[in-house]
Symmetry: C2
C-alpha cells in the first residue's frame, strides 16, 4: 500500500469514527492528519490536503487547540502559524477524557442531585422507581467520575500494568 493511500484511508477512518462519537468529522480529520505528520503544518497546507475552506480550517483548528490536542507553533522567520499534534496516544486519550468529563459528567452530576429532590411525600410506585433509578445512575456516574480522575493523573505503564494485573 502506498503511503498516500494509507494516509488518506486513516484520515477517512478517523473522521467517520468521530461522527459516531458526536465529534465533527473535519475536526477529526485535521487531527488525524496532524497525528501522522511529524512536522508542524500550516493552515494553508491543511486546507490544501483536506480540501476544506479557510473558515472551516480555522474553526476546527481552534477547537482542537481548545481540547488541548493541538499546539500552535511559531517558526522563526516565518509569518504563518503552524500546528502540531500531541503524538502520544495515551496522552491524547487522557486529554479527551479530561475534557469530556468536565463538559459532561460534572454537569450531569449536578442535574442528578437536583432530581433526587422529587416530592417524596407520595411514596407511590412511580415516584419510587424514579428516585431509585436516579440514585443508581448517580452512584454509577459518581464512581466513574472518581475513577477517571485517578486515571487522568496516572502514568500509562502504571495504569495498563495494573489494569492487566487486575483483569488477568
Amino acid at each position: 500500500m502506498k503511503l498516500e493511500a494509507a494516509k488518506a484511508q486513516f484520515i477517512q477512518t478517523w473522521g467517520s469514527l468521530a461522527t459516531q462519537w458526536g465529534i465533527n468529522k473535519t475536526m477529526a480529520q485535521i487531527h488525524a492528519l496532524l497525528l501522522i505528520t511529524p512536522d508542524p503544518i500550516s493552515q494553508d497546507d491543511l486546507m490544501e490536503e483536506l480540501s476544506i475552506s479557510r473558515g472551516s480550517a480555522n474553526m476546527n483548528i481552534r477547537e482542537l487547540i481548545d481540547w488541548g490536542l493541538v499546539d500552535r507553533v511559531i517558526k522563526p522567520g516565518e509569518r504563518k502559524e503552524f500546528f502540531l499534534a500531541e503524538k502520544d496516544i495515551w496522552k491524547v486519550f487522557r486529554q479527551i477524557v479530561k475534557e469530556r468529563k468536565k463538559r459532561e459528567l460534572e454537569p450531569l452530576l449536578k442535574v442528578l442531585e437536583q432530581l433526587k429532590a422529587v416530592d417524596g411525600e407520595k411514596k407511590n410506585r412511580e415516584a419510587k422507581a424514579f428516585t431509585d433509578t436516579i440514585e443508581n445512575i448517580q452512584k454509577f456516574v459518581g464512581q466513574a467520575d472518581k475513577s477517571l480522575d485517578t486515571m487522568i493523573k496516572a502514568d500509562e505503564n502504571w495504569f495498563w500494568g495494573n489494569l492487566i494485573k487486575l483483569i488477568k
Copy 2:
C-alpha cells in the same frame, strides 16, 4: 420538585447528553422514559408521552431492542406489545460497551492492521512517522479492547471494588 417535572427534565437531559455522543436524541429519550418507569409501556403511550410519531417510535424502539437495552413484553390477553428497559445501570453500561466495541473497535483494529503494511522500502521521515503513529494507536486500541472484554464479563462489585483498590 414535582414528579412530572423531574421526569421531563431527566428525559431532556438524557436526550441532549446522547446527541453529544452521536446517539439519536429520540432513542435516548425513549430509553430514559423506560428507565424511570417501573411497568412496561406500549408504543402508543410512548408516542403520547414524548409527542413523537408512530414511525419514529417504532424505529427507535427497534434500535433500542437491537442494542439489547429494551425488551419486548407480551401481556396476556392484550393485543399490543409493551416495552421494558433493563434498570441496572451497570448492566446497561456493559451492554453499550459491548455493542460499541463490536461495532467500532473491532473494525478499527482491522483497518489499522492493514495500514501497517504501508510500503516500507522508503524508510523516510514521513513513512516512519506514519507507521509509528499507526502502531501506537494499534497497541492502545488492542489493549483497550482486551480490557473491555474482561470488564464486560465482570461483576459490578468485583469490578469497582478492584478498580477502587487499584486507584487509591
